[in-house]
Amino acid sequence: MSLLPWIPHLTFAGALLSLAAGTRSATAARVTALGTALVGMVLVAIGAVNFAPTSGLQTLVDVPWIQEMGIRYHLAVDGISLTLVVLTSLAAVAGILFSWTVEERVGEFFALYLLLIGGVYGVFLSADVFLLFVFYEIAIVPKYFLIAGWGSTRREYGAMKLVLYSFAGSSLVLAGVLWTYGAGGADGFSLSALAEAATRLSHIETVVVFGLVFFGFATLAGLFPLHTWAPTGHVAAPTGASMLLAGVVMKLGAYGCLRVALPLFPDGFTAWQPVLGWLAVAGIVYAGLIALVQNDFKFVIGYSSVSHMGFVMLGLATGERAAVGGAVLQMFSHGVIAGLLFAVVGRMVYERTHTRDLTELQALPLHRLIPGAAGVFVIAGLASMGLPGFSGFPAELKILVGVWRVNVWWTVWAGLGVLVAGAFTLRVMQRAFFGQAGTDAAPVAESSSLAPLSLPEKTGAALLLGSTILIGLKPDLLLDWIMPALQSPAFHFAATKGGP
């Protein structure tokens, strides 16, 4: 059988090994971490090659764990979770490559990093809600230490805010799940048992519980107006951690909404749907406009993440199969692209120029000092703008197809969001890299000592750019997994809705 269930544990083991290796030398810790992530990636690849898309979860392991409460250690995979597992493996490897220059307490850094990754893998593979919740908490705690210990701008504030929001969110989820378990009389925490219990709740209860669980998860997904932890957290975090935060941790929230909240409480979803859709489009446009006026390079990217996650939430809010599929694809796409953008800002630019202030960067002819970084950012920026040929395009297209069927005005606002995304990406690209373009005579000598891109940087960038272009040109690779999974009865809420 598949090796997928071993991936979280392998990653946890790698965390311990890195910690141990760190006591000897920094390089040993780095190599151990990279090795762990690479082995994880290979196992994911083997699992992906052998994966036969079906509707419904394919159980990998299912053994009793805490029998008194019917909690099981149940890992399973379907096309949706596999997509996100693939994303996690990519983000893990790339994040380590872009963290190669971390010099303080390297062993600890990578141990926490891998602990986070292991937790994320676990969430995506859990079919038991209690187990999912445990992995979810494992993923949250290391974030605090990574940001507080290795971060920059107002790191204690950023770390504290992020963790408080995360815990608040997860306590809402827990309350909702326990309510269903108790009031509905479930015999366990498996998705199917809880779904069955949920049918025994009264309508009002369903609406309330859906609100608890959905908004609890949506906090982590950065749904407006619960997003405020995201920009500060992203900015405070060290590069590798911002990549993971934007790349995979925000996906945990969206995944929780899709895997737990929506299938368990379809009636609650129907009641909340208009609110969710409007919040999603508000987030897309609002965060985009804020990104348009930021003067800190990293804040621009931070707000752009919120804006792009708005598309994911919008896709989910339509409750329409095409759009939900698009939302999953958008999770993958945003994970790759946001990771790359944070890598450019934090690693390629900031570590060389020691500034993220756009006014200061504008005075530097960066496109000539670090042409590699400029090139990577231009391509990643195009991908982020949702240009066709990159993974964001098929995702947005599918989401929009669904949104048209549900609410025309959401479509119009989402269209505005697409435009704003183009504007802020272009603005930041122009100011950060091409501020001095055209003035060939500008003296380059004083700062011409900036190092060219190193091998880990190039490799990481190639990995992520390659992924977004591959999926942009061949989205079937993922859609062939995602769309059958959405045929499962669990996603009944996502039937093709009205309209043509």
Binding site: P394, V401, G402, W404, D476, G499
Partner: protein
């Protein structure tokens, strides 16, 4: 199917050239010249080859390549060539190498410029040949990237702002296109232009879009319209155009006006005409008014400019508007006017082609003047160029009079056909258009008089060289073509006649 994917070669050879340049960072200037011109010129060679194998009696697509691409979204890699595409491929093949020569002559860092230019050329060709929205939109959007950098990096002092405005306004239009095609895809499951045109002809497309209910079908139409209107541009979506054309370096402006503005006009014919004939008919009144507004106001604005490049930019708005005037007038045709539809549509295409030739020639002439004048390009900075540089005056004069529509030169043919159709389709528009023609003549003659006549003054008072060999190489072919196509217009109208007949026949008459 054909053994050799000719059309893919047409599109991707310029990109291959760009790739080679990218892989060769130390390329000496001479190699950059040879390589980029060879790959840029490949379009003309392949275009000529296609012309010789093209069957002009058919209205359908030829050399078709169609391969399934993204199964889950029903997207194919689909290229095809009809008379209109062939015309525009040939136009690209003529203008692009000349614009490239014009660009390379004046700059340092030729490698990056040539690389971006070839990228842009490939995008334009892709737009003219792709028949599925997905590849088409890739080329359409990707073209903004090289255009942005070509304008920004090699342009004038205000180029940064101009490039930003250009791209953001164009993106606004593209957002409309994207939304509209998402809706179409949701309703029909396909975004293939050919399949959609068939669905429309069967009446199926209108029915399915109507299922969205309310005003949504109109919104969809407006979305597509917005995307194309910005690119062409249709008045009042032209705000990006004068600063962009004025700030871009000469060679790039040649390509922008000669080829890229035709992408918008092409889209009107390839997408709006076959897919939304009903909506076009219903809105033809206001649209005609806008297009006519562009023609008249463009001419009047050109009359007021003292910067020659800006004057030509407004002149482009004026000339491209005639294509759209003809299109909208034809779309609103009623029974009994059908005979006028064919000349109007043929005129629009011929006008698009001819404007590409004359506008790029004129921008090049202004570039020559600018180079002589050390950056001066005001209407009043020159005088008596006719004496100082007789050859430049001769060639620029031909281009000016072609642009003005003098019989015997190519510009006349398009305008004649447009007006022949227009008089029957919409007499008031024809009258208004005649006024616009007068204004056009007025500003072009002002240009001619102030710059070329009189005594040598301003910049011209000092040493003023006539065209050198490189400049002749750019200008002479363009001018020869203007004369040739003015005398033998059948060379291009023969390519598009069956197509135009087919379009006219598919018109929904009320």
């Amino acid at each position: 199917m054909n053994a050799v994917p000719w059309l893919s070669l047409v599109v991707f050879l310029p990109w291959l050239g760009a790739l080679l340049l990218w892989l060769w960072p130390k390329a000496p200037s001479g190699a950059v010249w040879t390589l980029s011109l060879a790959f840029s010129g490949s379009t003309l060679i392949l275009g000529a080859l296609a012309l010789s194998c093209f069957d002009p009696s058919q209205s359908g697509y030829q050399f078709v390549e169609r391969v399934p691409w993204i199964r889950t979204l029903g997207i194919d890699y689909h290229l095809g060539l009809d008379g209109m595409s062939l015309l525009l491929v040939l136009l690209t093949g003529i203008v692009a190498p000349l614009a490239l020569i014009a660009s390379l002559r004046r700059v340092a860092r030729t490698r990056m410029l040539a690389l971006l230019f070839l990228l842009l050329q490939g995008c334009a060709l892709g737009v003219f040949l792709a028949l599925d929205f997905f590849p088409w939109f890739i080329f359409w959007e990707l073209s903004l990237v090289p255009a942005f950098f070509l304008i920004k990096v090699w342009g004038g002092p205000g180029a940064g702002r101009a490039a930003y405005t250009f791209v953001v306004i164009t993106l606004a239009g593209s957002a409309g296109l994207l939304l509209a095609f998402a809706a179409i895809h949701g309703a029909t499951g396909t975004m293939n232009f050919v399949d959609l045109a068939r669905l429309r002809a069967e009446g199926e497309l209108t029915l399915r879009l109507a299922e969205y209910g309310g005003t949504v079908p109109t919104l969809i139409f407006l979305g597509v319209l917005a995307g194309l209107a910005v690119k062409a541009p249709l008045f009042p979506f032209h705000a990006w155009m004068p600063p962009t054309y004025a700030e871009a370096p000469t060679g790039v402006t040649m390509f922008l006006t000669g080829v890229m503005s035709k992408m918008g006009v092409y889209g009107f014919f390839r997408i709006l005409w076959p897919l939304f004939p009903g909506d076009l008919r219903d809105h033809s009144g206001p649209l005609l008014l806008l297009a006519m507004g562009g023609a008249i106001l463009g001419a009047l604005a050109a009359l007021r400019q003292t910067d020659l490049k800006r004057m030509l930019a407004y002149s482009s708005l004026n000339h491209v508007s005639y294509c759209l005037v003809a299109l909208f007038a034809a779309a609103g045709a009623v029974r009994g006017q059908i005979a006028a539809v064919e000349p109007a549509l043929a005129g629009a295409l011929v006008q698009a082609f001819n404007h590409g030739l004359s506008a790029s020639a004129l921008f090049f002439c202004v570039g020559v003047l600018e180079a002589r004048g050390g950056g001066a390009r005001g209407l009043n900075d020159f005088g008596g160029v006719r004496v100082a540089a007789p050859l430049l005056s001769l060639l620029c004069g031909v281009a000016l009079f072609s642009s003005l529509g003098l019989p015997g030169l190519n510009g006349f043919v398009g305008e004649f056909l447009v007006f022949r159709g227009l008089f029957a389709l919409s007499p008031w528009a024809a009258v208004a258009g005649t006024i616009a023609l007068l204004a056009t003549a007025l500003f072009l003659l002002t240009f001619w008089q102030r710059v070329f006549h009189g005594s040598r003054s301003g910049v011209t008072a000092g040493a003023f060289a006539d065209l050198d060999a490189g400049e002749r190489a750019v200008l002479v072919p363009l001018v020869v073509l203007m004369v040739l196509l003015g005398v033998v217009p059948g060379l291009i109208t023969g390519l598009i006649n069956p197509l135009v007949t087919h379009w006219a026949a598919s018109l929904p008459l009320s």
